[in-house]
Subunit: 324 residues, 2 copies
């Protein structure tokens, strides 16, 4: 493989000059620049990015920590984040924390060692102190403290829209399946809105909290089975993800409940699946692509020491399909 010395020798300049061209520093005549570039090309020279990032103090790496990239919500988020990172010339180091605090802490340490330009944190098992000493950080749907910027969508409004739709459609007893409320997530605002709406309209209701590891899809069917065993008269379900809603549909079908005639179902997120699902899911759409864009932009701004907005909350949208 050609080295910087080979390029310098072929171009008849010093190694320092080649390095200046590569790093765009110091005065270099246009002629020299062109000569160096054409020699690099002729020799198929690949500058060593690792060495360069030591010089530049920027690694062009963005760390992304998600609980489970196999979950449709996070796989789509990851896809959008990769898209915007690539546009900036950055690469994504993917960390699948599986909500394991040890693994998550390990990854954060590793990212500090690798001098990532910043971390986009879509997971939420650790205490605040772990996030200190990072060059850049932005959280997804979690407000850690007032110093750490976050991106989210309007969870309260999403919960309100979902609950109101079920009430307006005539549901008399509504179940809400949500994540574990012990986790301090902004998604808990959906549950606040649910509580407020059912109380305001005097609707009978039940709230099912899932375990800490809310992304374990195998749990969902058991939760939904138990819900209908304990509350056979539920005629509306607001689930906090489309995947959970899919399991509600599955269990209802097994129990012979028709959708939407006997049970109405609203999901959350509007992942791709929601539209090719049969019946197509009514759901609350989060503007995932725009949220990803803002998260990447926040890391870029922090890396370049620009001012960053501490909180970005984007609007949600109710998408009515066949399950209501």
């Amino acid at each position: 493989m050609a080295t910087i010395h080979d390029v310098a020798a072929m171009a008849g300049v010093s190694v320092t000059t080649v390095s200046r061209v590569l790093n765009n520093r110091g005065y270099i005549s246009e002629d020299t620049r062109r000569k160096v570039y054409s020699c690099m090309e002729a020799l198929n020279y690949q500058p060593n990015e690792i060495a360069r990032s030591l010089l530049r103090k920027q690694s062009n790496l963005i760390g992304l920590i998600v609980p489970d990239v196999a979950h449709p919500f996070f796989s789509e988020l990851t896809s959008h984040i990769e898209y915007y990172a690539y546009e900036l010339g950055s690469k994504v180091l993917l960390c699948n924390s599986q909500l394991d605090p040890v693994k998550e802490r390990d990854y954060i340490d590793m990212m500090k060692r690798n001098r990532v330009d910043g971390i986009i944190m879509g997971s939420h098992t650790l205490e605040v102190d772990v996030y200190s000493n990072l060059k850049g950080i932005v959280t997804f749907d979690r407000q850690i403290d007032e110093h750490i910027p976050y991106v989210c969508s309007d969870n309260y409004e999403g919960g309100r829209l979902a609950t109101r739709l079920l009430i307006d459609k005539g549901c008399r007893k509504i179940a809400h399946i949500c994540g574990n409320l012990q986790l301090q997530l902004l998604a808990n605002r959906r549950t606040d809105a649910f509580r407020h709406e059912v109380h305001k309209h005097g609707i009978e209701h039940v709230i099912i909290e899932t375990d800490m590891n809310v992304f374990d899809q195998n749990q969902y069917e058991a939760y939904v089975n138990r819900l209908f065993a304990d509350h056979a008269d539920v005629d509306g379900v607001f689930a906090t993800s489309d995947i959970i809603a899919a399991f509600v549909v599955k269990v209802c079908r097994k129990l012979g409940r028709r959708i939407p005639e006997d049970v109405r179902v609203v999901g959350y997120d509007d992942v791709n699946n929601a539209s090719w699902f049969t019946p197509a899911l009514t759901t609350v759409r989060q503007p995932l692509k725009e949220m990803a864009r803002l998260a990447v932009e926040s890391i870029r701004k922090q890396a370049e020491e620009e001012a960053v907005e501490p909180a970005r909350m984007l609007p949600v949208e109710l998408i009515e399909r066949e399950t209501t």
Copy 2:
């Protein structure tokens, strides 16, 4: 942030000694080693991984190129690869090529510059020459040439099992929806098996090839609509992915065809969705987790200059659920 100089000063040793401890080189007494480690801990010293990887000539980075991480098959693959990479102390640089040859080439160049220990290639738009000069490479479901190891499952057997099931269930006209056969993918063996079985049993059949960008989910519904418009008498469909199969179910429902009474459907992959889907999909399961393990292992072996098996083909399994 504490530097290597702070650690050396606190431990009362030279910077060279700290560096030797970090890189496990040269003779260091157990006492000194312990003292250096406890000072690192006390100072919360994070060794600079970038500088270390220059020394070690190993970056502990594995590049992963997939066509679309938002596609359930690739999101699950990515999750498994991350799991096994983490076990080895490696990190995953994720590249979502979107089957864009320019982006893919760009990523491969970038990975060479970043001295990744190897690339796991799950995409397939480029010519063979681009893959030269890589420290390590393994492809997923594609045989590029005899020098590049690959991991796949038994596509021919998968195609045979799916087709035979539909024939055994009494289907008289079977459609097969596959990827674009111009792409030299091992998945094309599924279509070979389909052709062989329908000819052997004298079954009427139709083969629908999708566009090059077979991962664009929006296309699928149009293909399936056209299939049933042109061939109203199709009573069995073998789709080359569970997502395509999901669209077959969706279109059948819209057309009033009952599943499995009027149309039987077999998918491929057995992604998580396949089981929570309603009706639950009959499908051919690829041993994705084991395939991921072998791919990561191959990169590790190449990085450590061990012998690597050029081809690993794993068995598939027919999973009968409700659509047949």
